[in-house]
Symmetry: C2
Subunit: 137 residues, 2 copies
Amino acid sequence: MKIGELANATATNVETVRYYEKISLLAPPARSASNYRSYSNEHLARLSFIRRARDLGFALEAVRELLTLSDDTGQSCEAVDQIASAHLAEVERKIDDLSALRSELTRVIGSCRHGTIADCKIIESLASTPQLKGAAQ
Amino acid sequence: MKIGELANATATNVETVRYYEKISLLAPPARSASNYRSYSNEHLARLSFIRRARDLGFALEAVRELLTLSDDTGQSCEAVDQIASAHLAEVERKIDDLSALRSELTRVIGSCRHGTIADCKIIESLASTPQLKGAAQ
DNA sequence: TCTACACCCTGTAGCAACTACAGGGTCAAG
DNA sequence: CTTGACCCTGTAGTTGCTACAGGGTGTAGA
């Protein structure tokens, strides 16, 4: 399988596939006489795994660990569970952060009276010196 | 005001202040005899504005626009409203994406039976070849 | 046979928004 | 007079790609 086919089969950019090889996430494949990369089904499975993990938001280093773990079929899956749970916690933290952001943005935008910049509440709330910042730390 | 004091007053890293100057987000301040940066209250207000906008998740380019707009006090604040609303929409999109991720992660993790890697449902669901991927495009 | 075109190769630079050095200079206190 | 906290410049690193530049290869049609 040539790189374009592999990329197509996994909805990945060709450049990304080469990038994964470069950072040793995907093993270097055999080469054709004309130096084209030639991938096996093993590579396809591996890249599919990577893509799916990436779609779930795992960082590349987490994906690397998950790949290593997945090869060690006899071991307990505790480590896998821990990586996934840590990631879930991180996702939840981000959701909370963004939700707080949304509230604040909604509030600020809602206060806009659509007049001139001079009395724009949005600008005003950005310009206000944060008095509590130091205390909040 | 020296850079450390300014940084402290705005809960910013010293390096970040210099970075903002480098990308022309913050005007270069006067210099002391020993070449130390010497900031005015104008700079303090400007940097506070930047920090507050950054805390609200605005990209640096958006902050740049907001700063320019904030100087044009006579103009309508429509443009400000639009930048803020676009950002809010983006935040909401991210929340939706992360919520979908959370559901999926929760589902996958919940299926874990805490056995060996060989029958780990998490690894399994990552390894499964995405059949619908092509069709979904 | 020529030539267009799609595909492949390597290597490097760019994106966002900082952060972290390395390798220096300055200044006030003890 | 030395210690330590601060300041300076400039460059490289972070994450996860993406986008060239400048080439080579393979195949199909005129």
